[in-house]
């Protein structure tokens, strides 16, 4: 998949917060959560704030955990998960400290999906998430 020059958060249903520099993302439409490795958090924060892809790749040039191929695959994964979408906005320059932050990362690029309690599987209530109760996300009218 060719990379876009710049990306944006895919929809208003994608919300995120940062905890000590680590991002947690929630897709409001599905209830799925996403957590990132330390390098993944830095890349997410850059891309979601409109930093250009080319500038990001350059910023990662000295980062052992963020190779160009891995970065490309990671961005594709974020698009596939519905978290990012190509944007027509003007790419923003990266923050000055991004190269150092990426170089300091100790974990490879990764996004983990937490959907054991999301709408496709559960519902209510509680505890018996392994026992779906007939509440799929799609209901067909008989």
């Amino acid at each position: 998949m060719p990379l876009s020059e710049v990306y944006a958060v895919a929809s208003k249903d994608i919300v995120f917060e940062s905890f000590d520099g680590e991002a947690v993302v929630l897709d409001l439409s599905t209830g799925r959560y996403f957590g990132f490795s330390d390098s993944g958090s830095k890349v997410w924060q850059a891309l979601s704030s409109g930093v250009g892809t080319e500038a990001l790749i350059l910023s990662a040039a000295g980062a052992a955990m963020v190779g160009a191929d891995a970065l490309e695959a990671f961005i594709a994964r974020l698009v596939e998960l519905g978290l990012l979408a190509p944007s027509s906005a003007t790419p923003l320059p990266p923050p000055d400290d991004l190269p150092a932050a990426l170089a300091a990362a100790s974990e490879p690029l990764d996004v983990s999906v937490h959907d054991d309690l999301a709408d496709l599987i559960t519902v209510d209530p509680i505890h018996e998430v392994e026992e779906p109760l007939g509440w799929p996300a799609v209901k067909q009218v008989p």
Binding site: F19, G35, V123
Partner: protein
């Protein structure tokens, strides 16, 4: 049978509220419970739900200043002119789309397809309706925590939150236990209560961020599966003659095992994520706020209809305000309780050592 679509949902919700209010004098039973800052009056039929309304809550003692009045009508055909509940009529249903559509109309709501069970709330007027096909046509979890969706909407409108979390405390200071079902929250709460610790509840507690992180009790019901019930010595203490609930679990009340009256509040000093570790003894280690947030928020938001974004922001604030730990559970209830109590007693020192602070 009428069908409701996303387009007609707000009108149907208003129709249900109007139908319930016009039948207000026809409900056979009226039960009021006094909760933090709220006098909740349920208008309903006699039966198991009315009994649950009298047993399932931990009522606020004393005379709190200026509690707000909230009225919930729990109806079904046969009470006044209450209509039969409609079915969902769109090919597609999503919790979030449903909640958003109602929120645009200033309303909150929930629908359980299998029973055509509707809950609609107007937070501006604090009036709600729960419409069922018949007096006992409600999802089985409603009996343990009746009207929890309405409480969730009402407290969320005030910037507070029902959290899906357990609590334990010592002398007014407490820990919030977070995590999905099966993580060991309930067993930890019971272990603590049986060994001298306080709790303001398991499953659902009311969290307020007005002055630090404060937890208040709402529901009195505790649950344990038969294995945990036996392991914790509850068979001897409570007996086994009560019927199991819909999950095959023993149900009992916090007051049956609490060492002293339930505190009105706990000042929450830390967030712990229990983990059934398999080791003989318990241990507590710091975890990242990111991991604690996912443990706290994911189940709390998934189990509550609507208010997803506000919940995400709220639980983010909670997580930033507290030091976060993973609690590896040992195998002995007394040792687990002692580990938590000792850690709470050292809380300020531990938090300073393990975290740079929020």
């Amino acid at each position: 049978m009428p069908r409701v679509t996303l387009d007609t949902l707000p009108d149907y919700a208003r129709f249900l509220l109007a139908a319930a209010e016009s039948a207000a004098g026809r409900f056979p039973v009226r039960r009021t419970v006094r909760l933090p800052g709220l006098d909740l009056t349920a208008h309903l039929d006699a039966g198991a739900l009315a009994d649950a309304m009298g047993e399932a809550f931990i009522e606020t003692s004393g005379d709190p200043p200026d509690p707000r009045q909230c009225h919930i009508f729990i109806g079904h055909p046969g009470i006044g002119d209450m209509p039969a509940p409609a079915s969902w009529g769109d090919a597609r249903f999503t919790e979030h789309g449903f909640a958003q559509k109602l929120a645009e109309a200033g309303l909150r709501g929930h629908h359980f397809h299998d029973l055509d069970f509707w809950q609609v709330y107007d937070p501006g007027r604090r009036v709600g309706v729960q419409l069922m096909r018949s007096a006992d046509a409600y999802p089985p979890w409603e009996q343990g925590a009746p009207l929890r969706a309405f409480l969730h909407w009402e407290y969320a409108a005030r910037g507070m939150r029902l959290a899906h979390a357990g609590t334990l405390g010592v002398e007014g200071k407490g820990v919030l236990l977070a995590g999905a079902g099966g993580a060991g929250k309930s067993g930890t709460v019971v272990a603590g209560l049986l060994n001298g610790l306080d709790s303001v509840g398991d499953d659902y507690v009311l969290i307020d961020l007005g002055n630090g992180v404060t937890a208040r009790p709402l529901f009195s019901v505790l649950k344990q599966d038969p294995k945990g019930f036996a392991r914790l010595g509850l068979e001897r203490r409570l007996g086994t003659d009560r019927p199991l609930n819909w999950q095959g679990k023993h149900v009992f009340h916090i007051t049956e095992i609490a060492p002293r009256p339930i505190p009105a509040t706990l000042d929450i000093l830390m967030l712990m994520v229990p983990h059934i570790g398999g080791g003989e003894t318990s241990s507590i280690v710091p975890i990242s706020r990111k991991d604690a947030m996912i443990a706290l928020a994911s189940s709390g938001i998934a189990q509550m209809p609507g208010e997803r974004e506000s919940g995400f922001r709220f639980f983010s604030d909670v997580t930033r305000l507290l030091p976060c730990y993973r609690l590896f559970l040992g195998t002995h209830p007394e040792e687990i309780a002692g580990t938590i109590a000792d850690f709470l007693a050292r809380a300020p020192d531990e938090a300073e050592r393990d975290h740079a602070g929020p």
